[in-house]
Subunit: 408 residues, 2 copies
């Protein structure tokens, strides 16, 4: 039913994208720093934002522009977060106005996002000067989505892009997204931006519902470094060009929409965790047998966020004691003597702890398992039927290197 397709943010009908270097990033003219995504027609739209008390200026502006649940376009820059910076809100509004002028729409129908260094004034002039050229490059193609995905990258080493096709109300619906996020990533949104487009016909109220439901089980279940950023934004634009009957309530069509959105968001979230700053391993923690899903989630997040567990995974060291330790300080109460821990990857599975006690396991096999790119820490708690999966990454020398001198 659900099919993987290409095209990212241009996969859905009626969406074009572009990316350009305009000069926000001053140190490298080859790095694109502004992205634009435009729908041919008016869209229903909704977004979720960071829970950080310190919010970047574009978040306030985008929130205001979404008050009517409608949007036409998204403009985003990398290289500067426009957070805690002089003139922040004015600059965010000017970004929307610059985009609106070239598109020929109202500034209120443009959403805006920024990512990069906090606390430095945004060079709005270069964005305004580049807006027309950015517009001229708009295209609906795999290449255009790829360029836009690159234009929102900061310390990301790979672009994050995905798209799916499904059927809603008998019509083929496409949905695709681009995302960025590498450092300052933590459950409850990291420094992440994610822009999703779809040709599904759906009301903005239903998008909001679907987005909240989906973000909870995707982006809110990843962690790179425990730092929740000031700029996180995930928005969905739906232009209705697929021709399905508009989704306005929680019915079968809504479920199909949520299933597609969930698949898309989980794919993008995994890509973010895997590309965590300096990361070598994607670290997945599956918790089963918890009292309920909430307990499983708290414990799984505690494991993927544990600096010591992350360091052990970097060292390919089957140090399961740190897993149990992180479970123990999660804030959840449970019986440690019912806990089993396994490490798994493409190379196999090894049970290292049974009923809370260490086993004499095959260290050579464990090493082989942990040398793979994608590692699963599989925890069975023996208390109930609650389960949850969260994603993180190891902490490495490169994480320190990247973040020891990020501003310069």
């Amino acid at each position: 039913m659900l099919k993987q397709i290409t095209g990212g943010v241009c996969a859905a009908q009626g969406f074009r994208a572009a990316g350009l270097h305009v000069g926000v990033k001053t140190h490298n003219v080859n790095k694109k720093d502004v992205a634009l995504i435009v729908s041919d027609t008016d869209c229903a739209a909704a977004a979720v934002f960071t829970k950080n008390v310190v919010k970047a200026a574009p978040i306030h502006v985008t929130k205001a522009h979404l008050a009517d649940g409608r949007a036409r376009a998204v403009i985003a820059n990398s290289g500067n977060a426009n957070a805690c910076a002089p003139g922040g809100e004015e600059n965010a509004r000017r970004m929307c106005e610059a985009a609106a002028a070239v598109i020929g729409c109202r500034a209120e129908d443009v959403l805006v996002a920024s990512t990069g260094v906090i606390g430095q004034p945004l060079n709005i002039k270069v964005i305004e000067d580049g807006a027309q050229e950015l517009y001229n490059r708009l295209e609906r193609s795999d290449a255009a989505s790829d360029i836009a995905a690159h234009a929102i990258m900061t310390t990301d080493t790979v672009k994050k892009e995905a798209a799916v096709e499904t059927t809603v109300g008998g019509k083929t619906v496409r949905m695709g997204g681009i995302a960025k996020g590498s450092g300052m990533i933590h459950p409850n949104m990291g420094t992440m931006l994610c822009f999703i487009t779809t040709d599904c016909a759906i009301s903005s109220a239903m998008i909001r519902e679907a987005l909240q439901e989906t973000v909870r089980v995707s982006f809110n279940r990843i962690s790179v470094d425990g730092d929740t950023s000031t700029n996180d934004t995930c928005c969905v634009l739906a232009n209705g060009m697929a021709g399905n009957a508009e989704i306005t309530e929680k019915n079968e069509d809504y479920d199909a929409f949520v299933a597609a959105l969930r698949e898309l968001c989980v794919q993008l979230a995994r890509k973010m965790a895997k590309d965590g700053e300096g990361a070598i391993h994607l670290m997945t923690c599956t918790v089963q047998g918890a009292r309920d899903e909430a307990q499983a989630e708290t414990i799984s997040k505690s494991v993927i966020s544990s600096t010591l567990t992350k360091a052990a995974i970097f060292g390919c060291d089957a140090n399961w004691g740190r897993v149990l330790c992180a479970m123990g300080y999660s804030g959840e109460s449970f019986d440690p003597e019912k806990v089993d821990v396994r490490f798994a990857s493409a190379a196999g599975t090894v049970l290292v702890c049974e009923q809370g006690r260490g086993l004499a396991f095959d260290e050579e096999l464990a090493k082989k398992i942990l040398t793979e790119d994608e590692i699963v820490i599989d925890v069975a708690m023996g208390e109930g039927n609650g389960a949850c999966t969260c994603w993180g990454c190891d902490i490495t020398y490169d994480y320190i290197k990247i973040n020891g001198d990020y501003r310069t």
Copy 2:
């Protein structure tokens, strides 16, 4: 009034200490792995422990032995945490019995603690075999305390030892301690052990009160890596040999005792933070002008625990945006536009953020300030009179190195 003295855990009258290599640590025979502290007479005693749900076996045994508020001795090993390990409680009890046999006291009057790798069986035999030799080496001297302090070290690079002298009820009272802790350190106790001895006469109920009050503002305000360990223990033994009238209620004498204990614990806590695994800088965060102390504490802890702030301090980078960001996700609500941030050290002070907005500050001066060993991040919130100081350290390549392959 309060005087710094030498002698650590042997500073108080009637306390002897020793350390020895018995073979718990198998990889290096030069590393001592068992410490013994013995009072000549029966002591009033109390302890606080980790809040981790997964607790090491010695914690259960020490708790039981402290039920009557009395103790004679402490035995502790490094190299193995005796947590999640087969036969844990039996081995912890056998450690107490081995010490009691050579001291000539009841096993119930011996407290026990362990630190090291989680999940591997403790080699209790070598500890039992070494007990007599350990006892033979007991001494009351600066050197003996130094050896005991070394015997509880794991990844610590320096011993942690301090002692103070004060006056209680007209009598000279001495108090000293040894501690260990370097990784798995987080507010609410890290992987830390701390043994404090005093010749003050004080009831175990009053020690318990004083210890809780003091730990809250010392060990619970440091963080190295956000991981709270399974083994944390801080205990105080008071043998009354100073001859003061026993403290049994909260009076002037109690206040003098708490002042001394607080000074001692803050000194030891700072030493732990400064010797955080791989750390180069001691990072102190002072928050002033908060609504109340609780808000100041939450915010200060969030800053010293922020991986990105720690990485910036490692890079001597005045990246104050990360400080504001960490304040923002602390869970406290406040007005970011009232916040000032300064970086300070022996080399000077620089205001980098005023009223929530970045300033064009002297980058050269900032670099010079941040190159010092001890850095202060000074936050003024402009909301009230609440203040709090917490201590942490930077995160470095060596932290990753130390923890990437700790078990081998």
